[in-house]
């Protein structure tokens, strides 16, 4: 039972991070390898807002999440926009470089020590008992619920709202979308903002649960296989992919070897690339587009 809970929690973490990869990829065909670092940045921003807005933990968390959104828009505006028209790989390498830059900058600003944003917010991380004798921390439970809420919100946004439809249109055919008067740069900035927003939520919730240091960026990278397994251009796929990767990881760690933790997602990734490189729900044409 505990194993099942662990799988669900890990799957929720991966799913919440993976939707950031999917959002950016399906609108602009760029793979954002700085996603882990951007996520870490939002978690560190939470530390700062918590000390600025003391006494209102919820306000601090919301402020940090919104700052994460702003960071995403800024990254697009000042960096990725300049990579328009370059080869896709140049753009991907730019995100890699951005990730390294962020890692250095974060240590310079917040130091490399382990930090506990939970304490600076003044919250308690209670351990909840579930039926079946399993236990889950309050932060993890919030994370699972939050992931559900984010995915519902994203589905609703992409299906029902004007901006969501524009976003999908740009993803399908940027030229036609631009012809119809959709501002491409605005839409790309929106995708980046949403992506860092959801990633930031994930970063903050993980940091609340298990403390905050540089290793959190590795979790961001490990979530990427989840996005690819489901199909890089499919949100529903990211959910299923996260579940598959998390199941494989938890079971292999438990039954085979704890050292496998960092490599299982990538083994799943390789298996998927051999069998069905465009992912479970992805479109096959994606392989030729990049």
């Amino acid at each position: 039972m505990q194993l099942l809970v662990n799988i669900v929690v890990l799957a929720a973490i991966y799913a919440l991070i993976a939707c950031g990869y999917v959002l950016i990829y399906r609108t602009s065909r760029v793979l954002n390898l700085a996603h882990g670092e951007l996520m870490m940045l939002a978690a560190y921003l939470l530390l700062t807002t918590a000390s600025l807005i003391s006494g209102h933990p919820l306000a601090a968390a919301i402020a940090a999440a919104l700052l994460g959104l702003v960071v995403g828009v800024l990254v697009y505006r000042f960096l990725m926009r300049r990579m328009t028209g370059e080869r896709v790989l140049a753009a991907v390498l730019a995100t890699v470089a951005l990730g390294i830059l962020l890692r250095g900058a974060i240590v310079l600003v917040w130091s490399a020590q382990q930090q506990y944003p939970l304490q600076s917010l003044g919250w308690q991380n209670a351990s909840l008992a579930l039926p079946g004798g399993a236990r889950v921390s309050a932060a993890s439970a919030t994370l699972v619920l939050g992931t559900g809420a984010v995915y519902l919100g994203l589905f609703a946004f992409l299906r029902l709202t004007r901006w969501g439809i524009r976003l999908r249109a740009v993803g399908q055919n940027p030229l036609l979308a631009a012809q119809r008067g959709i501002r491409l740069h605005g839409i790309y900035a929106l995708a980046w903002g949403l992506s860092t927003f959801t990633g930031g939520l994930a970063g903050m919730l993980i940091a609340l649960d298990s403390g905050l240091d540089q290793t959190i960026a590795v979790i961001g990278l490990k979530a990427f296989p989840a996005a690819l397994v489901g199909g890089l251009d499919s949100l529903a796929g990211a959910l299923l992919g996260a579940l598959i990767v998390a199941t494989a990881e938890v079971l292999l760690i438990y039954y085979v070897d704890p050292l496998l933790a960092d490599v299982v997602p990538f083994l799943v990734l390789i298996a998927m690339l051999i069998v069905r490189p465009w992912g479970l729900f992805g479109t096959r044409e994606e392989l030729d587009r990049v």
Binding site: L31, E86, G104, P225, L259, I270
Partner: protein
């Protein structure tokens, strides 16, 4: 563009000659002389830097062949270096194998891994290929870590200095000549490969795969060949690295190292062996430059424990600046300067034929 006036290449052999004009021959002789006296002219620190640069240049040239010429992106270069280093380390530790066994063994491991790394390239392109090499990097690192943990070398494997002809290579000067020979051979191999059928096939594949196939080039075979050549060279560089440090540990082969090698190729300039050398030099010297600059600050003590972070941040920034403002890399800057002198007093380059 011709490097001398009134000079025409009249035969095909002349066109692909490595050393073209008398000026080039002269400057090459000066370079050889300078490289030969460097160990006695420079300080031990300078010598260590030169050795590091030579080591990095082997890996950078290998990656340049793969990425810059064959157009196949690899984010798993550190994994290949690690494979070479661990082959040498394990053979030495388990069987006490000498240098002249471990180095070829590392090459064979590299070649086999090259096939493994290259197989996805037959089906995947661009981004997906980059991701598959990234994943393979983690697998290789995991295997290395597993070996360390299982055999109880959790801090790393210690390797004795290699013996070549009864002579233990300990002294930095001897290392310098060993590495110089290795780097020169790598460079010559690369230069020669690039002016043969293989090199032309790689460039054709890079520029347009479908057209290359239509021209009768066996795309899968040449792609695999590019991966195999590149990984073999890289694994040998990894083995040399292990011997030079006298120590192998997975810690040394993080994803950051892969990115550093990719950065060498980008900062140096895609599609140029000279660029690979420039890039290797730049990336090797960069941390020392940062340290020097921090020392020069009015309050050096404040940043003493942050050198690592400053290094990281500045490295990312420089890589970004090159990607955004100088995609041609250092070699692009070098070409502009050279052309300015060659063309003076004129400004415009003649149209390319």
């Amino acid at each position: 563009m011709p490097h001398a006036s009134g000079y025409f290449r009249t035969t095909y052999a002349r066109d692909i000659r490595l050393v073209d004009t008398r000026t080039q021959l002269g400057s090459l002789a000066v370079l050889v002389l300078a490289l030969a006296v460097l160990p006695w002219a420079g300080s031990p620190f300078l010598l260590d830097l030169a050795n590091q640069f030579l080591l990095a240049s082997i890996g950078a040239v290998a990656l340049m062949l793969l990425t810059g010429y064959a157009g196949q992106v690899s984010l798993g270069h550190a994994g290949l270096l690690a494979a070479g280093a661990f082959t040498a380390g394990i053979l030495f530790k388990e069987f006490g194998a000498p240098f002249w066994v471990t180095l070829p063994a590392a090459a064979v491991t590299g070649a086999m891994l090259g096939v493994v790394f290259g197989l996805p390239s037959l089906r995947l392109r661009g981004l997906y290929l980059a991701v598959s090499t990234l994943a393979l990097h983690f697998v290789v690192i995991y295997l290395g870590g597993e070996y360390e943990a299982r055999r109880g070398f959790s801090t790393g494997i210690v390797i004795d200095p290699p013996r070549i002809g009864g002579l233990a290579v300990v002294d930095a000067r001897i290392w310098y000549f060993v590495l110089l020979a290795a780097a020169t051979l790598t460079l010559l191999l690369a230069l020669n490969l690039l002016r043969t059928r293989t090199g032309r096939a790689w460039r054709a594949i890079r520029d347009h795969e479908t057209v290359a196939e239509a021209l009768g080039i066996s795309v899968p075979a040449y792609k695999l060949a590019a991966f195999v050549v590149s990984s073999t060279l890289t694994a040998m560089a990894g083995a040399l690295f292990a011997y030079y440090r006298g120590f192998v540990s997975v810690e040394a082969f993080s994803l950051f190292l892969s990115i550093q090698y990719v950065a060498m190729v980008i900062i140096g300039g895609m599609g140029s062996l000279l660029g690979a050398l420039f890039g290797a030099g730049f990336v090797t010297l960069f941390p020392y430059l940062i340290e020097f600059l921090l020392q020069a600050l009015p309050t050096p003590g404040r940043f003493a424990n942050l050198v690592f972070a400053v290094n990281y941040g500045a490295f990312g920034l420089v890589m970004l600046l090159f990607l955004v403002f100088e995609p041609q890399g250092l070699v692009g800057i070098w070409r502009r300067i050279r052309d300015w002198f060659l063309l003076w007093p004129l400004k415009q380059k003649p149209l390319e034929r």
